[in-house]
């Protein structure tokens, strides 16, 4: 196993651990909501009537969590299929959306909001799919460390001058220099190493608290 394989395995492990944690939370909410519905349905009629609203809200919760679980599973499945092809067309918009969804837990732990903003048009690039997924993950991880608690990060794909571009911006008013200084050197080096392997380049934006990655 070479160094790139080792880091791919570590990346998949981290993302899968985050996913399973989220799924566990989803199952816990479903289990408690279903349990509450069973409790209500086993009450005598008079008492049950007082809980009708809770019955409805529990049903709504179950529906909402099923949607949350289904969306997460779709994103993990998309990531799991990234290594199917060594090289090929990548929808950068879709890849960004997937990695934002799978990184929510890490953002939450840092008390940050992480959003995906839709691209103005489709962004297709010819590259190595799994490396792009790792690169977006690494970009998000670096920005999560640069952003102060309570702030929001927006990820967006674009196609300026026919080049694939990914930007992550801190939506709050913080000095770009403070944002960049808070990113640990090793996080930045990891991002740059992934960029090099697909001939992309990462830049810290001078005017805004953010990072952009330009693909060839």
């Amino acid at each position: 196993m070479n160094l790139e394989d080792t880091s791919s395995v570590a990346f998949m492990g981290e993302v899968t651990a985050g996913y399973t944690h989220e799924i566990r939370n989803i199952l816990s909410i479903i289990a408690e909501s279903v349990g509450l519905m069973q409790d209500i349905l086993s009450m005598d009629r008079e008492r049950m009537l007082q809980y009708l609203e809770k019955l409805q809200s529990s049903l709504d919760k179950v529906g909402k969590q099923l949607e949350r679980g289904e969306a997460l599973s779709t994103h993990l499945n998309r990531l799991a299929h990234a290594p199917d092809r060594e090289h090929g067309q990548v929808d950068l918009e879709e890849a960004a959306q997937t990695m934002v969804a799978l990184s929510q837990r890490f953002a939450k732990r840092r008390q940050l909001q992480l959003n995906h903003l839709p691209a103005e048009r489709k962004v297709h690039i010819e590259t190595r799919p799994v490396v792009v997924m790792m690169l977006i993950y690494s970009l998000i991880q670096a920005a999560l460390q640069g952003a102060p608690k309570g702030t929001r990060l927006d990820v967006q794909a674009g196609l300026p001058d026919h080049r694939g571009r990914l930007v992550i911006l801190c939506a709050n008013h913080i000095a770009p220099a403070d944002f960049h200084a808070a990113i640990p050197a090793e996080a930045w080096e990891a991002l740059e190493a992934l960029c090099r392997s697909v001939q992309a380049e990462a830049k810290q934006l001078a005017e805004e608290p953010g990072i952009e990655v330009l693909f060839p």
Binding site: H21, R24, N25, S28, I29, I30, S33, G35, D39, K61
Partner: protein
């Protein structure tokens, strides 16, 4: 059998709202905190008989909350909530004074049994 005064700490509000409702239906008095910081404030103002604490939370981690609770209210038992693959943290929590740890998703019968054991079986 009278209810237990429990402080439930977890950042998943949809989880805590359903679980607290189920505990209340069974006669327990529940306070809910969405974060470790809030849990410490509630525990200081109105000490519970038992704390049910999730280990994975944003901000103050469950382990850090446990340490502070044990220093603030050493007599109050703490039950930890953890997931498969995180039992090591549950064990670490017990070494730091937690009464026990339970795996999520929970079985409410097991939780109540454990709560009653934790408050000394006198409930």
């Amino acid at each position: 059998m009278s209810g237990v005064k429990v402080l439930l700490v977890d950042d998943e509000q949809e989880f805590t709202s359903a679980l607290s409702e189920r505990l209340e239906i069974r006669g327990h008095a529940v306070r809910v905190a969405d974060s470790g910081e809030e849990a410490l404030e509630i525990a200081e103002a109105e000490p519970p008989e038992v704390v049910v604490l999730d280990l994975k939370m944003p901000g103050l981690s469950g382990i850090e909350v446990l340490k502070r609770l044990k220093s603030m209210l050493p007599q109050v038992p703490v039950l930890l909530l953890t997931g498969y693959g995180s039992t090591e943290e549950g064990i670490k929590g017990m070494q730091l004074g937690a009464f026990d740890y339970l795996l999520k998703p929970l079985n409410i019968t097991d939780l109540i049994k454990k709560m009653q054991e934790a408050v000394g079986g006198s409930q």
